[in-house]
């Protein structure tokens, strides 16, 4: 059989819709140039920071635990803002909902900074933090759908390369940290000693549990992605070991905040925060050793490792420090 004859035979196939029926993809997609994206993301970070600072004029200076938790919230939000702006840009913002994540993260960042600086407008800030939790939860749903919609479904390939659970999870966490900060602020303003103790305890437990849950969640995410990188550098094991141990230490401290336990948890949190800083450097090095290094940033910032991810470890550690402070306050070991 000659090839052309069989080729003709093969053409006797049902055609799909005619080509003209397909709407042409918008020619301006992707919507931004990479440089514009970086500028917009950077300005959003600065603007959110400024807004947070400006909003905080006047009012009482909040207690240390609040400031720690609020800074943790802001750091987590900043990480989510940078990460989601880039990743959703990579996804060409094909759904309007994809603008929600960076927007919510920017708002959370502003609210976090404001909370760290002043006790004013607690109701509004609580609402904003609640909003980021809701946005994060929706994000988790969207991302799950994104994974399941591809051939292979819940496969490693899709878990590696489709929308991650870590980023919307971090947004939830940022919201939780913010609410924890407000709770700590309220506790400090309690009219009676007894009420203050009760409020501190509850705020500390809540923040502590959220921190532990966040640490375990992050372990899964980091584990998955470092596994994707085949742990090609032994240092990639460091967070996979440290972060869950820190989660355990936090859990122990929440269950019974005796001094030895809180001291252990504090040391573990310190290690996790240090890893966050170190990790940012290592991820930058990782980008630099990709083909073309930072000269090829329009590819390599996306190809990773993500430089914006490790700071979230420091953010979560700040949450933990705040929780420990509140828990210790209950025992009277330390003044807040």
């Amino acid at each position: 059989m000659s090839s052309a004859a069989s080729a003709t035979a093969l053409r006797l196939l049902p055609g799909a819709a005619p080509r003209e029926a397909r709407p042409a993809p918008p020619p301006d997609q992707p919507t931004l140039r990479s440089g514009t994206l970086l500028a917009v993301t950077g300005s959003a970070l600065v603007a959110a920071g400024l807004a947070g600072t400006l909003l905080s004029h006047g009012g009482r200076r909040p207690p240390t635990a609040t400031r720690l938790a609020a800074c943790g919230s802001a750091l987590l939000a900043a990480s989510v803002l940078a990460d989601s702006a880039m990743e959703h840009y990579r996804g060409n913002f094909r759904r309007r909902a994809m603008f929600a994540a960076p927007t919510a993260a920017a708002v959370t960042l502003a609210a976090g900074l404001a909370t760290a600086l002043t006790s004013r407008a607690r109701m509004m800030k609580s609402a904003l933090f609640g909003g980021s939790i809701v946005t994060g939860l929706f994000g988790l749903g969207f991302h799950a759908r994104n994974i399941l919609s591809r051939p292979g479904g819940l496969s490693f390939n899709n878990l590696f390369y489709r929308a991650p659970f870590g980023a919307p999870g971090a947004l939830v966490l940022a919201g939780a940290a913010g609410l924890g900060a407000i709770a700590a602020d309220r506790a400090a303003a309690s009219p009676t000693l007894l009420d203050g103790r009760r409020r501190h305890r509850r705020a500390g437990q809540g923040l502590g549990l959220a921190t532990a849950a966040g640490l375990f969640g992050l372990t899964t995410e980091i584990g998955l992605l470092h596994f994707r990188g085949a742990f090609h550098n032994k240092l990639m094991y460091a967070p996979v070991v440290t972060v869950p141990l820190t989660g355990l230490a936090m859990l122990c401290a929440v269950i019974d905040p005796e001094p030895a336990r809180t001291a252990t948890a504090r040391r573990a949190l310190g290690a996790t925060a240090a890893l966050g800083i170190l990790g940012t450097g290592l991820h930058s090095y990782g980008v630099s050793r990709n083909m073309g290094g930072f000269y090829n940033w329009t590819q390599n910032l996306f190809q990773g490792p993500p430089i914006a991810a490790p700071p979230s470890l420091a953010g979560i550690a700040l949450m933990g420090f705040a929780a420990l402070r509140l828990l210790e306050r209950r025992t009277g070991a330390r003044a807040g």
Partner: protein, 551 residues
């Protein structure tokens, strides 16, 4: 035509105690050199999946080794352009005559000419044989048994995959359990998703393809950037070709590589044993003395060299008492089905074959043919695609340009289908000679009925899958890929050229170690099997050396 990019083809690079450092532009690594007058332990002809791997292992075991390659020694980072025409320098474009009922296309289709061999431009599909294929005569009733056990090969596959950092799935869906691949699978490209979608619609398994390109950094090599020029040479060094894996290893272990060195003849002494090789380099014929000679020039050059080394003691060519040198040449059926997708696929991005279906390698029911086939998603570059289009369809004029205008919407599935070993498919020497005065090889190939049935089955199945994935306007192209056989290994001197160690039955210090050893072709790309088989042979030769059985 000369290259505008590099002088590697004009000037020898591995000389003067140094060889190119493939990981750094303009840099060198030290290279041990061996005098021609002193016999080296091993003179190895070829530096592809056979030669370079053997050179590395033998040198690591303390043997003195010189490996020759007719091609140039490139530094991919500075010598490889993103350009199909420029990169033709990687192919063996010397004239060869091709005949038979189904003459095979040589050159860019299956033959490399560079240090690192064809792996410099291979498509990186890193699959294992189905275990039963090593005993296809006994277990499946066709072809010939390999003189090896599949479990032994399984171990060597794992070693080969570890050495080449193969990026593959954690659980491969076919065959007996294998550990997870050393590196993780790559992100699926749109063209790979077409196969995945089609397979799920038909209810057959599919898998991300185990691929010989880095999904994470390794040493000085960058991870893959998904530029998609894999088939014409990786300028990233992510591709785990022999050039960036076993060749540097061989140099480090003290092996010498001689680039632009065409071996034309193996010399034999009065006792009929090999004494060294005649090779042409820098404009002159030279002679390297050797205690052992290993031929690793792939399925055409290996028989050509053995046949051209005929001498009074071996009038029919070396290692040819069985008369099988050059016989039983095999290819893979490489027919493809193409179609147009509604969405943009842009198959030029990423490694071209990121999804694979081995269903018909592991299923025996419902087949009207012996053997098996795998097929993969495709991503041909413009001239590659255009040449297959015009040679199969004869399309030209405005119609051709319009057809090429659909390039970004095209998707395709291409088979790697087992052909049967037939003695009539062979490599011989023609009466014509090339510029060096060496006889031009003549290749004769015809499909047998079984091959044609397999091709038809594959065509139908691939069409069905492509249609199920949503493609329309299907058409098909015919081609072949890979070379296997020509110097079969076996247990019976009358039925094979070499034994299970690659040692020729006739001459105890003459070995063959490359794809020409394959008794059967299998339905998968051959490179990993060649590497694994070479690692196995290397261990055997090293053990023989320790026992004093090597001259």
């Amino acid at each position: 035509m000369s290259s505008a990019v590099s002088d590697a083809q004009e000037r020898v690079r591995a000389t003067g105690g140094r060889a190119p450092d493939v990981f750094r532009p303009g840099a060198w690594v030290p290279m041990r050199e061996h005098p021609e007058s002193e016999p080296v332990d091993f003179a190895i002809v070829g530096t592809g999946c056979g030669g370079s791997v053997l050179a590395a292992r033998l040198a690591e075991a303390g043997h003195s080794v010189v490996a020759f390659d007719a091609g140039a020694f490139y530094r991919p980072l500075e010598d490889f352009a993103s350009d199909e025409r420029e990169q033709e320098k990687l192919y063996w474009l010397d004239e060869r005559i091709s005949g038979g009922d189904d003459p095979i296309e040589l050159g860019s289709n299956n033959s490399g000419k560079a240090v690192g061999g064809s792996t410099v431009h291979f498509q990186m599909v890193a699959l294992r044989f189905r275990p039963e294929w090593f005993k296809s005569r006994s277990l499946l009733g066709y072809g010939h048994d390999w003189p090896v056990d599949w479990r032994e090969m399984w171990d060597y596959y794992a070693k080969a995959e570890a050495a080449m950092r193969i990026a593959g799935p954690i659980a491969y869906p076919w065959g007996p359990r294998r550990g997870s691949y050393p590196y993780r699978e790559h992100e699926l490209s749109a063209s790979a998703l077409v196969l995945a979608k089609g397979a799920e619609a038909l209810g057959v398994k599919w898998s991300p393809t185990p691929t010989a390109t880095l999904s994470a950094p390794h040493g000085a090599a960058h991870p893959c950037v998904y530029r998609g020029f894999c088939k014409i040479g990786c300028a990233t060094n992510a591709k785990q070709s022999m050039l960036v894996t076993f060749v540097p290893r061989a140099l480090k272990a003290g092996a010498e590589i001689r680039d632009l060195a065409m071996v034309g003849r193996i010399e034999t002494g009065a006792d009929g044993r090999a004494t060294g090789v005649h090779y042409h380099r820098q404009g002159a014929w030279r002679f390297q003395k050797a205690k052992n000679v290993v031929v690793a020039g792939y399925s055409i050059e290996t028989p050509r060299l053995l046949l051209n080394s005929a001498c009074p003691q071996h009038p029919e060519g070396l290692a040819n008492s069985s008369g099988l040198v050059g016989k039983n040449l095999m290819v893979h059926v490489n027919d493809a089905v193409w179609g147009i997708m509604e969405e943009e696929i842009r198959w030029y991005k990423g490694p071209p074959s990121l999804a694979v279906c081995e269903h018909w390698n592991y299923t025996d029911e419902g087949k009207d043919f012996d053997g098996g086939y795998a097929f993969m998603s495709q991503g041909p570059l413009p001239t590659d695609f255009a040449t297959s289009l015009v040679s199969n369809e004869g399309v030209f004029g405005h119609e051709l340009r319009k057809w090429m205008g659909h390039y970004n919407h095209m998707a395709g599935l291409k088979v790697v289908g087992e052909t049967m070993p037939q003695e009539s498919n062979r490599v011989e020497l023609s009466d014509e000679t090339d510029a060096l005065g060496l006889p031009i090889p003549k290749v004769t190939f015809s499909y047998c009925d079984n091959d044609r049935r397999l091709a038809r089955h594959a065509e139908n199945f691939q069409s069905e899958m492509l249609r199920a994935a949503g493609a329309r306007s299907l058409y098909r192209t015919k081609s072949t890929a890979h070379l296997m056989g020509g110097c079969r290994m076996g247990d019976d001197p009358a039925e094979s050229v070499v034994d299970a160690s690659g040692r020729s039955w006739d001459i105890d210090n003459l070995f063959v170690c490359d794809g020409s050893l394959f008794p059967t072709a299998g339905g998968v790309n051959p490179s990993m099997t060649i590497v694994a088989n070479t690692l196995r042979i290397a261990d055997r030769i090293i053990a023989m050396g320790r026992r004093g059985e090597i001259g």
